[in-house]
């Protein structure tokens, strides 16, 4: 009975107080036929020592490969203070701050988070988080359809340069409400959205246009003209951005003439470890005037009975627990702890630190691309300016190369052909600020050997390297 404090004596007293003979009696309203027999197949409980050993073995089993995959999840340095403080019991084991006076810690932190995130996006308001970047994009689409009073359309334009898993997620979430996603092609040379194709939709009724920055290929989208086309046609602009990149790149609030209407994305680069894909958090910012269409919680600053500053959940009439079937979203539990970490992360890095980190990623990527394209047969696939990630064309199928690299404990990147059949032999690589020069060199050296050995048709997994 781990975690249960009751002694035999207390059990007896409590049953007596209740007036039953045994715990079984407390379940007497449950029809006998339904009561479960034993939980077959679930083993006996383990002590913390036993499960520790098991988990250590499992963690060890997966090794600690050198990772050059990005594709939506980035291996950034997270200050130790972030998680030492975020996992303090008072943050870790509190819940949604419904009792404001007993939750000023979480509430003030969320208010600070909203401020920081809105600043980073150059937008007017931020909510207190959604699940992840992909589902945040889906919420942004739903919100745009609700909010665009000028449009009757349930159609939204989504570039093919948006992360394929994000497009899939949006599809899952918005499909049942009859929303249609119209894909926009990317320019085969530059890798960014085909502006002509976009302009070809001028005059049509869409609720919104999605603009990723940088896009899935790491290529910078022409966000200004795209936002302008949207504005000119009465479409809302939904920015989908990497928040770390926004320390350096033009933020959604400044796109085009009037800025984007909604900015969303995944907060993972702000303090969340890779952790097999989650928990991360989705963020969503918008204009003040659209705030009542926003999904997710909001914290406001107010005053107490004595006029002191305090913080509380607000504008809850948007939410399911008040508005039920008419809520802006069904979200309830969000990603609070990740936001706690992100707030700490942003406070510790500051604008300067985030900008330096972004710049270091950019520089590392540049160095990596330089090293790899120096190898025979490898060339950059796209001409457009890239950030954070880049697409390389290899002289052979990517999947096999990655497999062999993995056997040498290097995760070489993301095989684009899986999602873009036209991008044959194309590899998406990433090198964050946490990759060292030796790491880059190690990758280049290994890749060279893998290419050579595979060219010779050798069974690569049998080849031994003297590294």
């Amino acid at each position: 009975m781990p975690f249960i404090p009751h002694t035999e004596e207390e059990l007896r007293q409590m049953l007596e107080t209740i007036g039953v003979a045994a715990i079984d009696d407390l379940f007497d309203e449950i029809p006998a036929a339904l009561r479960a027999r034993s939980l077959e197949g679930i083993g006996p409980g383990l002590s913390e020592m036993e499960i520790s050993r098991l988990m250590q073995e499992k963690a060890r089993q997966d090794g600690q490969p050198l990772c050059f995959i990005g594709a939506g999840a980035y291996d950034h340095h997270v200050p130790a203070a972030v998680w030492e403080i975020a996992t303090r019991g008072e943050f870790y084991t509190a819940y949604t701050p419904y009792q404001a006076e007993a939750s000023q810690g979480t509430l003030q932190l969320l208010y600070e988070y909203q401020t920081m995130m809105a600043e980073l996006m150059a937008m007017e308001v931020s909510n207190a988080s959604l699940y992840d970047g992909a589902s945040a994009l889906a919420e942004a689409v739903l919100m745009a359809v609700r909010a665009n009073r000028g449009s009757k359309s349930k159609r939204v334009l989504i570039p093919r340069s948006v992360h394929p898993a994000y497009r899939a997620t949006v599809r899952t979430i918005v499909r049942n409400q009859g929303i249609e996603l119209e894909e926009l092609p990317y320019d085969a040379g530059s890798g960014h959205t085909d502006l002509e194709a976009l302009e070809g939709h001028a005059g049509e009724d869409f609720a919104a246009l999605i603009v990723p920055q940088p896009n899935f290929f790491g290529v910078l989208e022409p966000a200004d003209p795209m936002a302008e086309v949207a504005a000119a046609n009465g479409w809302l602009t939904i920015a989908l951005v990497n928040p770390l990149a926004m320390a350096l790149l033009k933020p959604p609030g400044e796109w085009g003439g009037a800025g984007a209407d909604i900015a969303c994305g995944d907060g993972q680069p702000l303090g969340a470890p890779l952790s097999s894909g989650g928990p991360y958090f989705g963020f969503l910012c918008t204009r003040q005037k659209l705030v009542r269409q926003m999904p997710g919680r909001l914290v406001g600053r107010t005053r107490d009975l004595e006029g002191r500053e305090g913080f509380t959940l607000t504008l809850q009439a948007r939410e399911q627990h008040i508005r039920r079937s008419k809520a802006t979203s069904n979200i309830c539990t969000n990603q609070g702890l990740m936001v706690t970490a992100a707030t700490l992360h942003m406070a510790l890095l500051g604008a300067e630190g985030l900008a330096r980190t972004a710049a270091a990623c950019h520089a590392n990527l540049g160095r990596l691309v330089e090293k790899l394209t120096a190898l025979e047969g490898i060339e950059p696939r796209f001409a457009g300016p890239a950030f954070h990630e880049s697409v390389l064309k290899l002289p052979m199928e990517v999947a096999g190369v990655l497999r062999t690299l993995a056997a040498h404990n290097i995760l070489g990147g993301y095989d684009l052909q899986r999602d873009y059949p036209e991008l044959e032999n194309c590899l998406l690589v990433c090198a964050t600020e946490s990759r060292t020069d030796e790491d880059l060199e190690k990758y280049a050296v290994n890749l060279e050997r893998v290419l050579a050995s595979r060219r010779q048709g050798a069974c690569a997994t049998m080849v031994r390297f003297d590294l």
């Binding site: 988990m55 996992t87 699940y131 790149l249 097999s276 894909g277 539990t333």
Partner: protein, 483 residues
Amino acid sequence: MLIFQHSRPGRRARAQAPKEKAGLDAIPEQFLRRSRPRLPEVSELQAVRHYTRLSQKNFSIDTQFYPLGSCTMKYNPRGANRLAMLPGFLARHPLAPESHSQGFLSAMHELQEILAKVTGMAAVSLAPMAGAQGEFAGVAMIRAYHQARGDGGRTEILVPDAAHGTNPASAVMCGYRVREIPTLAEGDVDLEALRRALGPQTAGIMLTNPSTLGVFERHIATIAEMVHEAGGLLYYDGANLNAILGRVRPGDMGFDVIHVNLHKTFSTPHGGGGPGAGPVGVGERLAPYLPVPLVDFDGHDYRLLTEKERPESIGRLSAFAGNAGVLLRAYVYAKMLGAEGMRRVADYSTLNANYLMKRLRAAGFTPAYPSRRATHEFIITLKQEAKELGVNAMDFAKRLLDLGMHAPTTYFPLLVPECFLIEPTETEAKETLDAFVEAMVRIREEAREAPEKVKGAPWTLPVRRLDDVRAAREPDLKWEPPA
């Protein structure tokens, strides 16, 4: 003081940023940001001190009794946190190849199996990132099922009036109309009303059992029969699974699909609002529609199944595989409990709730369903106290905070006036429950003798009662520096 007020231009936590600012020459001017965002500029000590002190302003399980009904605020094992944060797990990239994923995937696979067994379901997907997303996925599967059968006329989801707000909201997100079913005086669903509501337009019903009223729906078998007969499916909102873990399995009650709030029943932390995890389980009929990815085991290797292998899936719900770190914590917890431990969760959470209900009743408070057993939680209504003493549930709640206890859930479910939904959980000791009774009695005393003490509460927290109306009327959602 806000973190921004500790900020000074040029101050920095210098150990945290990479050193040199490498050339950005390659990026054309028009893509670059013109001015720095106004983030705080503070030292590492300032950030640490500010947020450490902020944390101390919270109530939490680790510091207070937190009987927040429907939320299952039980002890979150510290071991689960530490093990989920082993460097190897933290460093694993979500797109790492199978060769570097067997440890992680084996845990996830076993978690799928444990959840299937404990809920009586045929298959489980760990993809949903919270209860509400589980509901969405569940209803979407119901929809996919009807569609696959060409049964397109089913446009309605039934929901009891006591249901949690996420239930109707999730149904609507799946494109359904919602019809509410009333509850009878003893807390069961009104079967007559249900019968009238059922029809060829019925896609399904969403229920939690025990319900949010803290009682077990006794006619669940009948309801299942009725709904199935009408061609609908049954969705189980697993928020209250803690009450029946190892005692009754939703699958055996006749449910077709279920979500489990791992942050409740499987004790992953609530984190000031999240993250949670809301895995979905289904019977055979709905198995093809489960959201991806799923973890598969071929007897030798574990791997993730995606849309490719699961063409009928409702699809993905997140960029990767959901809240993996939360799933790891739940896995650790499940393994520590084992079969016996799970059953004891139900046993002792039910014991605590019934004991507390009985003692409060003996102390003169009014259970909303006095003829019923409590499950893992129960409701008292402070209607009478409000009328006689002019002190309402909110006042009681705020005064409890002064006495060092988090308030129960107030004013939910909506159909019980001035209500407290009280969920003590199995990890609280008898003396804590006794102290709660004492506090309630004391507050009622105070309400008689010095009502302003109660109505003005809280007095001992960082702030007095906050002006919510002002917050909503003049929303101040973002700090701006003084002009």
